[in-house]
């Protein structure tokens, strides 16, 4: 199967998927169904089929050249359209001046196992604990990894990530520079986190982030990704089109967290269209918690797949959309073999005139018997014009499994506010307690004080910014 046809119908990216081969699947009319019913897991869609990096880039470039900016349509809901992005006005490779201030300002001051920072198109900092380096841990730019660890990288690169479902995915695969590569070899246990940072410090940048993480058998480690923007005082657009993949081999355990907040760019607009895949091998475990806290338009396809027997995972996430932000999350809990376990739990809030769509899919493939998984999504709307759609789906092709989903859509509980007021908290403080408490069960699961505080502070800042809005909403009901 050629690269260009792989997964052409994957996620209903209507005009983004261009079948250029006769054996391309029949296209389903976009907009008729919600995403999950059109969906094929990234299984087998990966581009890593023995082609060289140059061949992959070339194949992706062809797709890039013939495809339009994507629109993801939702029946009865709304669309996520990247068509306002002036892609031609952005530069993929720009001069950078060291580590942007936003990185040093934001990252918690704490020991880390290693850190790699990419600003715009270039890696500007790589640090790795020397002891770990001696034990075989590799942390470097992905470009460097292709030169120095070609065998290892080529085995896994794009193994499960497609390169051709839409223009921005193709752009990433064709144009990526810098990138991050982390390899924790067999049996190495690392307590402190590896930090992978993507920063955009000015308008006009197209950042094609590309990350590959390999957890060797029985390794244990944490990865914290940060996606950060400086303020664009004069406005303007920037793009982060990311592709992240992680493969955990037999018995590996990883805690993966992401702190994503592009909102400091305002009045600038950061578009973020990313695909992330985490593959959990035999008896391996992953706890994955993205915190999606801002961006003009954010589209995330997140997939956590149990690829072998005994794999287990906890897929968590928090999101908070504000002002005119648009957030579109498609999260997949995929089970390819059983027995396996899964537990998906997301919480989101929205203020201002923001819109957020969370679509969560449990997919259990034939043969993934004795899989037990659960998906829950809780959301809280804090302003009359904010909107959150939560769409859980379950696709089960095995008969000895348990899979279910649940969720709540909430508004502020006036009784709880009154209760706290009678303890002396003013209304704004009471609202903050409720919303922070709403997120807290997941925030606490980060199990990292510095990161937890960052998320809490971000939530508090958004609530303070929307205070009047929340007040008006509450009194209008």
């Amino acid at each position: 199967m050629s690269a260009a046809t792989n997964g052409a119908t994957d996620d209903g990216a209507g005009n983004g998927a261009i079948p250029v081969s006769p054996d391309a699947p029949v296209q389903v009319k976009a907009g008729r169904h919600r995403e999950a019913t059109l969906y094929h897991a990234l299984a087998g869609a990966g581009a890593g089929d023995g082609r060289t990096l140059a061949q992959l880039r070339e194949a992706a470039l062809k797709v890039y050249e013939v495809s339009e900016l994507p629109v993801w349509r939702r029946s009865g809901f709304w669309s996520t359209s990247v068509q306002d992005l002036d892609l031609d006005a952005l530069e993929t490779s720009v001069q950078v001046d060291g580590v942007p201030a936003v990185v040093t300002r934001t990252l918690p001051d704490r020991p880390q196992a290693g850190r790699i920072v990419q600003s715009a198109g270039a890696v500007v900092q790589v640090e790795l604990d020397e002891t770990l380096a001696r034990r075989g841990v590799i942390l470097c730019s992905l470009e460097q990894a292709f030169e120095e660890h070609a065998e290892l990288v080529c085995e896994w690169f794009s193994k499960r990530l497609p390169i051709d479902r839409h223009k921005l995915e193709a752009a990433n695969a064709a144009f990526w520079t810098g990138g991050a590569f982390l390899h924790v070899p067999r049996g190495v246990v690392v307590e402190e986190p590896f930090e992978i940072v993507y920063a955009i410090d000015r308008a006009g940048v197209a950042q094609y982030g590309r990350t590959l993480v390999l957890g060797g058998p029985a390794s244990e480690f944490c990865v914290h990704e940060y996606d950060l923007a400086e303020s664009f005082p004069d406005g303007g657009q920037a793009l982060h089109a990311g592709a992240f993949e992680m493969y955990l081999q037999d018995g590996a355990r990883c805690r993966l967290a992401q702190f994503q907040d592009w909102s400091p760019a305002r009045p600038g607009e950061v578009f973020d269209v990313s695909t992330r895949f985490v593959g959990v091998g035999r008896d391996a475990y992953c706890h994955w918690l993205p915190a999606l806290l801002g961006g003009h338009l954010v589209r995330q396809h997140l997939e956590l797949a149990v690829m072998d027997k005994g794999g287990d995972m906890a897929f968590r996430g928090v999101f908070f959309a504000e002002e005119h932000e648009h957030l579109d999350v498609f999260a997949v809990d995929l089970h390819e073999t059983g027995p396996s376990g899964g537990d998906v739990h997301w919480r989101g809030a929205a203020t201002g005139e923001s819109r957020a769509s969370f679509e969560g899919l449990i997919q259990i493939d034939p043969g993934a018997q004795q899989t037990h998984t659960y998906l829950q999504i809780h959301s809280m709307m804090l302003s009359p014009k904010a909107r959150i759609d939560a769409i859980p789906s379950v696709l089960v092709s095995a008969d000895d499994v348990s899979a279910s989903h649940g969720g709540t859509v909430g508004e502020l509980d006036e009784t709880a506010i009154f209760y706290m007021q009678t303890r002396g908290l003013d209304r704004a403080a009471a609202v903050r307690v409720i919303v922070e408490g709403f997120f807290e069960p997941l925030v606490a699961e980060l199990q990292d004080e510095g990161l937890e505080e960052l998320v809490r502070a971000s939530v508090a800042r958004k609530l303070a910014a929307a205070r009047e809005d929340i007040e008006a909403y509450a009194t209008s009901r």
Binding site: A416, F418, Y419, I434, E440
Partner: protein, 255 residues
């Protein structure tokens, strides 16, 4: 002038007049019991005193320590030294009892409370209420049993040290052990801190453990009978019906 002065209070909710002219004076160091049958307006009075937005004062006034607080925000009343122990305490997921207490204490202060001082106070309150230390790290009222919720209310009261506390049917739904703990807690706060309390109750049970100096009977939105602890005994003997026959009609008010 009494610390808490309620004058001719008329209150509406959902288009219905619930309180129809209530007068009540409560001072620090006094324990009052307010009794009455279901629907007499007891909880309405409790919620109105703390400024619940669903209750509208149509006539009359509430003054606290000489200030008119009839239209004050709930948190302003709390800061002034009023407290309400809820009949149905609300669960606040994600916030531990200890953290919530710290926030509430700090809301009343200029400077945040020192860690050591907070710990000392908390330890004292924990012993008073006979709760486990682990209790304070649980999320407030989240998954608490009925008895735990009421203990948490009194724990908050002990920590916030109000001048006057309104206890809205704190005794309902408690087994005898929990009831005794809660009641003894209130009594000790009265004895040690000079707490003034308005104990709202449907039953007489709690009044075996807390001794009120003043007893008021509320019926149909008015206080129809007032007296000392002997009123409780009379109620136990005669029930509300007897009193209703005597005072229940329109226009008959307590002295």
């Amino acid at each position: 002038m009494a610390d808490l002065e309620i004058r001719d209070l008329h209150v509406r909710t959902d288009e219905r007049e619930i309180l129809r002219g209530v007068d009540l004076d409560i001072n620090r160091g006094e324990i009052h019991a307010l009794m009455g049958p279901n629907g007499s307006g007891k909880s309405t009075l409790a919620n109105t005193l703390l400024g619940h937005p669903s209750y509208e004062v149509t006539e009359g006034s509430i003054a606290f320590k000489g200030e008119d607080i009839t239209g004050a925000e709930p948190h302003e009343r709390a800061k002034a030294g009023l407290f309400l122990a809820f009949q149905y305490p609300v669960s606040i997921p994600g916030v531990s009892v200890a953290n919530f207490l710290r926030m509430a204490i700090n809301a009343k202060r200029e400077e945040p409370i020192q860690v050591k001082e907070f710990r000392t106070q908390l330890q004292h309150a924990i012993e008073l209420l006979d709760v486990d230390r682990a209790f304070t790290s649980r999320h407030l009222n989240d998954g608490f049993s009925g008895g735990e919720k009421k203990r948490a209310e009194i724990l908050q009261m002990a920590m916030l040290q109000p001048d006057v506390a309104i206890l809205d049917e704190t005794d309902s739904g408690l087994d005898i052990d929990a009831l005794r703990t809660v009641a003894e807690g209130v009594q000790r706060l009265h004895d040690e801190q000079g707490l003034g309390a308005l104990i709202i109750t449907h039953y007489q049970r709690i009044l075996h453990y807390v001794k009120p100096q003043f007893v008021h009977i509320l019926m149909d939105g008015r206080i129809v009978l007032e007296g000392g602890v002997e009123l409780v005994e009379r109620l136990e003997r005669e029930g509300y019906d007897q009193i209703r026959q005597e005072f229940g009609g329109e226009g008959e008010l307590a002295a």
